[in-house]
């Protein structure tokens, strides 16, 4: 009698606890918001931040309104956080249907692991769609001759922005050569204004300086060799000269005080430029739209100037060369159910870069990657900037994709870490080159 009581009691104790255990276990299993097994339709992860977040949400709303049978849910993440999150989600089999990214080395990792669908055949079936985009935008979407992503959004070269008001006050002209840069550093420091704004904590912001300098000093071939993993390609003298020039600029107080604690995600670097605390900023062309929206009429009043990156005396690079993002990219997760894949493809074809979306991008100061938009650009209120970006992208003999996206994730992380130390002067240019040389082929 007693015995049965015991077992019953212990059974009850167990029964009382089991649901909790089960609940916790299942909760852990489905914690990914974009779980592909949700069954509720296709999902997409995209970057937060204006004006692009609103543009994308409107495009998705218009698409789902026109196609009531297709469901597409978007979740927004901060840029720096997203880059880690998406990789982890893909590795865990919890990827959203549509994988947003920048192509290049990261896309190659996904393609080699069969995590994203080969879209070559689909593009062949839809030649109109393929012909719609700038041909150059397909480069970073292609791995071993196969297209794994849809180019979309806009071309985003890195541009040297400057505050016209401060330049007038100083009686200075925007820099055309590296010597101009160094003399402007002195001019503005004497005025009590920081010469360059920089969100150094994000690290890829500092990388933009190296991308342009290396191109201007050594020409496009130097990074092409690095990209192809040629032995000792990081040891090129141009790399060391680039590092030396960067450290000279840091030593001359070229960047705003405290640049290494400023993060680009909060747009503080842009705020420094439009509040007049810094005179210049090297940044992606997408910041134009953000400054127009958040910069208290700084852009609207014509105070924002922009030029190509200056040349370096004795450098081999073509001054027309550009660096930046040739486009943004969207891939389809190979793990998604077929119905979701169909929705995604339909969205690629009909929902993205519609006339409305193209107009929205142009109105927010970006150049969409579609052919035949010259007239639209010319009638826009931002036509000076848009034509500048369009010409830069179109006329560049070489348009280098951002290094951290072009390289493999392993090499990119080492690159960003070493760039951070280079800017802090905790390693020499020689050590920088050696450290990076060790990552070749990884």
């Amino acid at each position: 009698m007693k015995q049965s009581q015991t077992s019953r009691r212990s059974f009850l104790a167990l029964a009382a606890l089991t649901p909790f255990a089960a609940m916790t276990a299942t909760a852990c299993g489905t914690s990914g918001p974009g779980s592909s097994s949700s069954g509720g339709g296709a999902s997409m992860w995209y970057l937060s931040g204006e004006p692009n977040q609103t543009t994308m949400q409107k495009a998705v709303d218009a698409f789902t309104a026109a196609n009531p049978d297709d469901k597409l849910a978007v979740t927004y993440f901060q840029n720096d956080a997203y880059k880690t999150k998406i990789k982890t989600a893909i590795g865990a089999g919890q990827a959203p249907t549509i994988i947003y990214g920048w192509g290049g080395g990261t896309l190659k990792t996904y393609a080699e692991a069969n995590q994203v669908d080969d879209l070559t055949g689909w593009f062949d079936e839809n030649p109109d769609l393929k012909d719609k985009f700038f041909p150059a935008s397909f480069g970073a979407a292609t791995v071993d001759g196969k297209i794994y992503a849809l180019p979309n959004q806009y071309v985003a070269p890195i541009v040297l922005f400057y505050n016209k008001e401060l330049f007038e006050k100083a009686g200075a002209q925007p820099p055309k050569t590296w010597d101009d840069v160094m003399s402007l550093v002195k001019t503005f420091n004497d005025m009590g204004v920081a010469p360059f704004s920089l969100g150094g904590q994000s690290r890829w912001t500092s990388m933009m300086w190296l991308e342009y300098l290396l191109d201007r000093i050594g020409g496009a071939e130097v990074f092409t060799a690095i990209f192809e993993g040629k032995p000792n390609s990081w040891m090129d003298p141009a790399v060391i000269e680039t590092g030396t020039k960067i450290q000279e600029l840091v030593s001359a107080d070229g960047f705003i005080k405290g640049f290494s604690s400023i993060a680009a995600d909060s747009n503080a670097d842009q705020a420094l430029l439009f509040t007049g605390k810094a005179a210049m900023m090297l940044h992606g062309s997408w910041t134009y739209g953000a400054m127009k929206k958040g910069g208290q009429n700084f852009v609207q009043d014509g105070k924002l100037g922009f030029v190509q990156f200056p040349t370096v005396a004795g450098g081999k690079g073509d001054p027309k060369n550009g660096v930046g993002n040739p486009a943004q990219y969207m891939s389809i997760s190979s793990k998604a159910p077929d119905a979701e894949k169909e929705t995604a493809k339909k969205f690629f074809k009909e929902g993205i870069l519609t006339e409305t979306v193209i107009d929205t991008y142009i109105n927010s100061g970006s150049v969409p990657i579609v052919n035949g938009i010259e007239d639209k650009l010319n009638t826009s209120e931002d036509k000076d900037f848009l034509n500048f970006v369009y010409d830069l992208a179109k006329n560049a003999p070489n348009f280098q994709q951002s290094w951290d996206q072009a390289l493999s994730p392993t090499a990119a992380e080492a690159l960003l870490n070493n760039i951070d130390q280079l800017f802090l002067k905790s390693i020499t240019p020689q050590q920088f080159a050696e450290n990076m040389n060790a990552t070749l082929g990884k």
């Binding site: 009691r9 916790t24 893909i90 590795g91 904590q201 405290g258 604690s261 503080a268």
Partner: protein
């Protein structure tokens, strides 16, 4: 689980039991054994299994996305030869020791102070405990905004000495990390000490007063010795906990500037999830587990051999 097996109650086993109510105590043991099952399940599922997984992964080459391959001892050799590991180890111990040195005296004094029964002390205690309610990420984001050299507190309040590049200069960033960790965790340890002080019998202080001991003498001769085990508990939590100061530092500095706040836990994360090197990251995870275990064992020993002895002998 072996207790559960003994529920078969063989008469012999029953007879072997000494006096008392064997049936009843056996029942209790059985019930208690069953009650450990959920805890055991969680321990297995969330501690032992992942630990084994990490150990296996430390011998594998995996980018977190594709197929898992074997790497033999390659990961171990490459990580142990990497100066980055020793930098991270050094920083981890530096932050651990500095945190202990900063937090222990402050929490001890605040604990003694808030243990008093006066009204204003209770009111202040509530204020001290506020940081305990905030998540590490929120704390880090708030401090980051306050310390922004261009738009932060210094500009807002017009205090130029605060306009340092707090997170951009290596030694300042390290000092700041130690400060913010202390700001966040001192309340917790204060709470432990407050409880400890309240356990000390009043009569000890009364006797000391009769003998003519002042407040300071009472503190050093009664309060401090009586808090021996509280100090050990609090220190264990502090030291072992410092191995997991990840979230706060990740949000505050991201390991930077350069590698100056890249502690072991952060190094593991960055290698694994940023650089896609799960193998080397697992090696660091194993090292982290070993250090944690060694430290916990060491601090337990610190209690001394008279651990079971009472501190209230003769009371």
């Amino acid at each position: 689980m072996s207790n559960a097996a003994s529920t078969t109650r063989k008469p012999a086993a029953r007879a072997a039991r000494p006096k008392g109510d064997p049936g009843h105590s056996g029942q209790r043991n059985t019930a208690l054994a069953w009650l450990t099952v959920p805890a055991l399940f969680f321990f297995l599922a969330f501690a032992v299994v992942p630990l084994a997984g990490v150990l296996v992964l430390s011998f594998a080459s995996w980018d977190g996305i594709g197929a898992i391959g074997s790497a033999g001892l390659g990961n171990w050799f490459s990580v142990l030869a990497d100066p980055g590991l020793y930098n991270a180890l050094g920083l981890t111990f530096l932050i651990m020791i500095a945190s202990w040195l900063v937090q222990t005296p402050i929490s001890l004094l605040l604990g003694v102070f808030t243990a008093g029964s006066q009204r204003y002390r209770a009111a202040l205690a509530v204020l001290y405990f506020l940081p305990l309610l905030l998540s590490s990420a929120a704390v880090a984001i708030a401090f980051k905004a306050l310390l922004d050299p261009n738009f932060g507190l210094a500009t807002g309040l017009g205090l130029p000495f605060l306009a340092q590049d707090w997170l951009g200069v290596p030694h300042l960033a390290l000092g700041l990390v130690i400060f913010v960790i202390a700001w966040q965790f001192v309340p917790f340890h204060t709470l432990i000490y407050q409880g400890g002080v309240r356990q000390i019998p009043r009569s000890l202080y009364e006797a000391a007063e009769i003998d003519g001991a002042g407040t300071i003498k009472q503190f050093f001769h009664i309060t401090l010795p009586q808090l021996k085990y509280t100090i050990i508990t609090s220190s264990t939590l502090m030291v072992v906990g410092s191995l997991t100061y990840f979230d706060l530092i990740f949000v505050l500095t991201g390991g930077g500037p350069g590698n100056s706040t890249r502690i072991l836990a952060l190094d593991m994360y960055l290698r694994g999830f940023r650089a896609n090197l799960m193998g080397p990251a697992s090696v660091i995870a194993v090292i982290l587990v070993l250090i944690g275990l060694a430290l916990a064992l060491f601090l337990q020993r610190l209690g001394g051999k008279d651990k079971q002895g009472s501190q209230l002998e003769g009371m």
